[in-house]
Subunit: 191 residues, 2 copies
C-alpha cells in the first residue's frame, strides 16, 4: 500500500527511504467495504484520506433529499470534507464507498506537522492544492456556461475509468444533468 503513496509524492518531490518511512509512520491504513460510509453528515472531521484502491464519492444531500456530488475519488486521490476541517465544524457531506476501498489516513494536525518539518512536503501539497483549485475553476465555468457537454467531456478525459466503474445516474448527478441528457452525450461520443 505504501508504494502507491511514495510514487504519488515522487510525482512532484523526491524522498529518501528514511524520510518516506518517517512520513509513512503518520499514516494509518483503513479498509472499508462497498456501501460503507467514511464520513457522515454531522461527524467531526479531523482526517484526510489518500485512496490506495477503490472508489468513493463525496456528496451533499439538500433539504429535499436530492444528492449533489461534489467529488469522486479513486486511486491516488485525496478526499475529506475540507470545508468542515477549515471551519472546525461538523461534516456537511457524506463520503461513501462505491467499491471496497483501501485508504491511508492522516490527521490534519499530523499533515501540518509534516508540512512544517519537511519543506518539500509543504511544496507537494501547495502544488497539489493549486491543481485542484484550477480544476474547480474549470468546473464552475462550465456550470455557469451551462455547458454540460463540456463537463461530460472533461470528466471523460480526466477519469476515463470512472465511466466503467460508476452508475450512469451518479455521473449525471456529478455533472448536474438529467440521466436522459447524459445518455444523449454518450451516444454522441460513440458516433
Amino acid at each position: 500500500m505504501s508504494i502507491a503513496l511514495r510514487q504519488h509524492f515522487e510525482e512532484i518531490i523526491t524522498l529518501t527511504d528514511a524520510e518516506f518511512d518517517y512520513i509513512l509512520s503518520y499514516f494509518t491504513p483503513k479498509k472499508l467495504k462497498k456501501h460503507q460510509f467514511l464520513v457522515q453528515e454531522g461527524d467531526a472531521v479531523t482526517n484526510e484520506y489518500f485512496v490506495v484502491s477503490g472508489l468513493l464519492k463525496a456528496a451533499y444531500t439538500n433539504e429535499a433529499g436530492k444528492e449533489h456530488i461534489i467529488q469522486f475519488a479513486m486511486e491516488n486521490w485525496w478526499i475529506t470534507d475540507y470545508q468542515a476541517v477549515a471551519n472546525q465544524s461538523k461534516a456537511n457531506l457524506n463520503i461513501d464507498c462505491m467499491e471496497e476501498v483501501d485508504l491511508l489516513c492522516i490527521s490534519f494536525a499530523d499533515k501540518n506537522k509534516l508540512c512544517d518539518e519537511f519543506h518539500k512536503i509543504e511544496h507537494f501539497f501547495r502544488i497539489k492544492t493549486g491543481l485542484g483549485y484550477i480544476a474547480l475553476q474549470k468546473r464552475i465555468l462550465s456550470l455557469l456556461n451551462n455547458d454540460a457537454q463540456s463537463r461530460y467531456e472533461q470528466l471523460l478525459k480526466q477519469y476515463p475509468a470512472l465511466f466503467q466503474r460508476v452508475p450512469k445516474s451518479l455521473i449525471a448527478s456529478f455533472l448536474g444533468v438529467s440521466r436522459e441528457t447524459l445518455s444523449r452525450f454518450s451516444r454522441k461520443n460513440q458516433d
Copy 2:
C-alpha cells in the same frame, strides 16, 4: 503599497524587515485605469497580481458573446488566469479593471523561487490556496443545488463592499442568475 502586502503575509506568517524587503524586491508595482485590461484572451500569462487597491474581474466570454464571471478581486486578493499558467497556454479569460487599480506583480518563476527559498512563503501560499479551494467547492455546491439565494448571501457575507462597488448586472452574472432574480433577493434582504 508595500504595507498592504506585508500585512497580508503577516495574517499567516511573520517576516523580519530584511526578509520582507528581499521578498518585495521581486514585486513590480503596476497601475491601471478603470476599463483597462490586465489580461486579454490570447495573451501569454506569466504573472500573478496582488491587489493593493481597486477592483477587477476575471471573466470568460463564450461563443455567443455571453460573459461569465469567474472571480472578482479587490484589496488583498490575488488574481491571474491560473489555468493558462498551469497549462502554459494562452489566456482564456479577460481580466479588466472596474476601478482604477494599484497592483503588485510577480512572475510565477519568481513566486516559485521565493517559495523555494523561504519555507514560510511556501506555507503561506499552501494555506491561501487551500482556502480558495474550499470557497470554490462551496460555489460549486450552490451551483449544483441551483440555490442562487445562498450564492447571493454567501457573496454578500464574503464581500459586503462589492455590492456598493459593482453594477448589479455583473453581480447577477457572477451568481449565474438574471438581473430580475437578483433584485428579488436584494428586496428580500432589505425586509
